[in-house]
């Protein structure tokens, strides 16, 4: 792999272009969590009673935080990157400079991770206003670091999909068949305890399940069983997925 400090240049390019979209994306990133937290947290939460001794909203927030980072980074590396390759030809001009194709891809993954961090942070801000806060300040900081990691993982995963996508429509397979089911079966909205055994096993294969588990443990300060395994699994998966995404994008970009 040909990676260097030039990854930062690609990030910088994205930052320049972001100026155009910063207002709409901030609005979306603020409105979306409000929907979740108000409808599920307050509306539905009112019927759920105490959830492990706390209001339902406290259960919901850490899961939704991880989900927000996953969604933002995924969409950035699906649609954002695809547009830059096929429509805007940004990659064509990039790889004719000393910036390598590998760095261009890594720069976009870094950027997607940043977008995930922004979404997660905004969601955390909304939660704070609603009175749901991480157990301590350093836990909040740790959570932000974890959001960056989630962005790299899911950004790279989406990048693999983009590397073989013949058109926009192709992304629906990934969002509808992978992202959406993960959203519902990863313990974001309720604990997985009441699932039948095979579904529990299945859920353990979804990276979001582990991301939510870690996020919740960091947020609440309550240790969860198997937390170390979750972290190790996610780190291993991220490393593999990152390497594969760069390799596959190289195939698409260099002819």
């Amino acid at each position: 792999m040909s990676l260097s400090y030039r990854i930062a240049y690609v990030f910088l390019r994205n930052l320049y272009s972001y100026k155009r979209f910063i207002v709409p994306t901030f609005l979306v990133s603020l409105v979306e969590p409000l929907f979740y937290l108000v409808t599920f947290g307050i509306g539905m939460g009112a019927y759920m009673g105490a959830f492990g001794g706390q209001p339902y909203l406290h259960f919901l927030v850490p899961g939704v935080l991880a989900t927000a980072a996953m969604m933002s980074s995924s969409f950035e590396c699906l649609y954002g990157t695809y547009i830059k390759i096929v429509h805007e030809k940004v990659y064509d001009s990039l790889i004719a400079t000393p910036v390598s194709a590998d760095e261009a891809v890594a720069g976009d993954i870094a950027w997607a991770s940043f977008r995930g961090l922004v979404s997660g942070s905004l969601m955390m801000a909304v939660a704070l206003v609603m009175g749901v806060a991480p157990a301590s300040l350093w836990r909040a900081a740790l959570l932000l670091v974890f959001l960056v990691f989630i962005g790299i993982l899911f950004g790279s995963l989406a990048m693999i999909v983009t590397s073989v996508a013949p058109s926009f429509d192709f992304f629906s397979y990934y969002t509808e068949l992978v992202i959406t089911p993960m959203f519902f079966f990863s313990g974001v909205f309720f604990p997985l305890d009441n699932f039948p055994g095979w579904m529990k096993t299945l859920a353990e294969f979804l990276p979001l399940t582990h991301a939510v588990r870690v996020s919740r443990a960091v947020f609440t300060g309550q240790p969860a069983p198997g937390l170390g395994w979750s972290l190790a699994g996610l780190a291993g998966l991220a490393a593999v997925v990152f390497a594969v995404s760069i390799r596959m994008m190289r195939k698409r970009l260099i002819k």
């Binding site: 272009s17 805007e88 940004v90 064509d92 400079t97 390598s100």
Partner: protein
């Protein structure tokens, strides 16, 4: 003058398709070297290998003594690329396009600022520094592509059909700028389908066809050796050919029938013209031979699709 680019047996295959079929050429430092050929001849593929964005399948290709390769940053640092497709960054303004590119080449902020001002002046876009790309005409976009290609003060400039889709004014401005760059010492590699462009800019050209080089030389010498000095066109139906040619056996001209026209390639078109007028053929034209005649003779007159 030294050799800057040297190719030997240069080959590019995409699966079973042979895009470049083992070609040899040398580009001298400081000259303008043109690749001419119809669509699909392998021109763009060849220059993409020269500027290190497409891997070489077989053969050798060196630039400044270094082997061309995808990860050869040293070569990319000294090369400026004016692409065929307008791939400016539409999310960025005119100046931002150059600022970001300067970063890609490790050029510091202050140095970049000075160069950008100078380059925008060079391509006459000073007034557009803050404009969006969508607000530019095609000619302005092409000029900005030139400015972008020059941000790293390249020793080698690769221009892939740099004037496609431009009106004559815009085209002449770009030609002037490219000639100016050459006088400043840059080596220029050009691909084009416009014969006038090749004649205006190139010291030497190669004519490519189906991945091979058919001929090499200066534009003038190619015209002289392949066609002669003059061309006489006679627009007559093919049935008349035998009758007309029988009258012209005394003239040392090569002839060719294409569609509705009979072409004669001559050293001296004048006496042939007089004879044709005697024969009372009204629809005749005597003109100097051009690179276009060479091109069509070498690559055939049928459509390349």
């Amino acid at each position: 003058m030294g050799i800057l680019v040297k190719a030997a047996g240069l080959t590019k295959r995409y699966g079973d398709l042979v895009a470049v079929a083992g070609i040899d050429f040398e580009i001298r430092e400081g000259e303008c070297f043109g690749f001419l050929g119809p669509n699909g001849a392998g021109k763009t593929t060849t220059v993409r290998m020269i500027h290190c964005v497409s891997p070489v399948t077989a053969g050798t290709l060196t630039v400044g003594g270094l082997a061309s390769g995808i990860n050869n940053r040293a070569l990319k640092m000294i090369t400026g690329v004016i692409p065929q497709e307008i791939n400016l960054d539409n999310d960025l303004t005119v100046a931002e396009n150059l600022v970001v590119f300067a970063r890609f080449f490790d050029i510091g902020r202050r140095e970049a600022k000075a160069r950008i001002a100078e380059l925008l002046r060079f391509v006459e876009l000073e007034a557009k520094a803050g404009s969006k790309i969508s607000e530019l005409s095609t000619g302005m976009k092409r000029r900005l592509l030139i400015a972008r290609a020059l941000i790293n003060r390249p020793r080698l400039i690769v221009a892939d059909e740099p004037t496609t889709g431009l009106d004559p004014q815009a085209r002449h401005l770009i030609w002037q700028r490219l000639r100016q760059l050459k006088t400043q010492g840059a080596t220029l590699v050009l691909t084009t389908q416009y014969m006038e462009e090749a004649q205006q800019l190139c010291d030497r050209i190669v004519v490519m066809y189906q991945g091979r080089i058919l001929k090499e030389g200066s534009p003038a010498s190619l015209v002289e050796t392949e066609i002669g000095r003059e061309v006489v066109e006679v627009r007559v139906p093919p049935e008349d050919d035998a009758r007309i040619l029988a009258e012209l056996t005394a003239f040392p001209c090569v002839h060719e029938r294409v569609g509705d026209t009979l072409y004669f390639y001559c050293r001296d078109g004048h006496s042939l013209m007089r004879k044709l007028l005697e024969l009372d053929l009204p629809n005749t034209l005597n003109r100097p031979a051009t690179l276009e005649d060479v091109f069509l003779k070498l690559t055939g007159r049928s459509l390349h699709e």
